[in-house]
Symmetry: C2
Subunit: 91 residues, 2 copies
DNA sequence: TATGTATTTAGACATTTGTCTAAATATAGA
DNA sequence: TCTATATTTAGACAAATGTCTAAATACATA
């Protein structure tokens, strides 16, 4: 869970996820949406990848990234449990 | 959102939330569950407080902390939208 | 094979973060 | 008012983080 929250703790990386939820994109397409260097975006993608928040496939010269929902489901579950359990104990 | 993800990006603070979902606790009770100094736990509580993830009331010498679900609901919504939108676009 | 495009890797650096100890503040109760 | 308890604040420091530039790697195509 640590590595996932670390990956989510950055506005640029969260924006990348917001973009990828719409459609799969290459590293370059993603980088074009930001003012940061390609190396910086590549680094962010690596963090997302290691947190298992995105997956990637090579297509010729391009590397296509897509969002990965498995871990997001786990996080969502943890948060919902915080909310629900709190409400339980309030009754 | 930044400040919330920053607050969630620490195992100790997430554990504090896990404890507070069960029942409200004083700063000292919380600190007793960890090996860290009280000052360190106090610092973590401050971060959670500023992220609006917990609230606190003074009761005599004690300060009682409780979990605050409003912001958690927002985070939950953001994550669910990532998941759902991705699934939409996969169809 | 040579060249251009796409992407990552390496290394550097300033900023942020988590922790500590020591000191300060606030409250309860004798 | 004095003392003990609860908690926070201040200041320091090592480790982690986000960014950059320059260089390396991988692939496509002439």
């Amino acid at each position: 869970m640590n590595i996932v929250f670390k990956a989510l703790n950055d506005q640029t990386r969260r924006s990348i996820l917001d973009m990828l939820k719409e459609k799969d994109m290459s590293a370059g397409e993603i980088a074009d949406q930001f003012e940061f260097s390609r190396a910086t975006i590549s680094h962010h993608l690596e963090l997302l990848y290691h947190a298992d928040l995105v997956s990637s496939v090579k297509k010729g010269q391009f590397i296509i990234y897509s969002i990965n929902t498995t871990v997001l489901n786990e996080i969502s579950k943890w948060i919902v449990e915080l909310i629900d359990n709190k409400n339980e104990n309030k009754k």
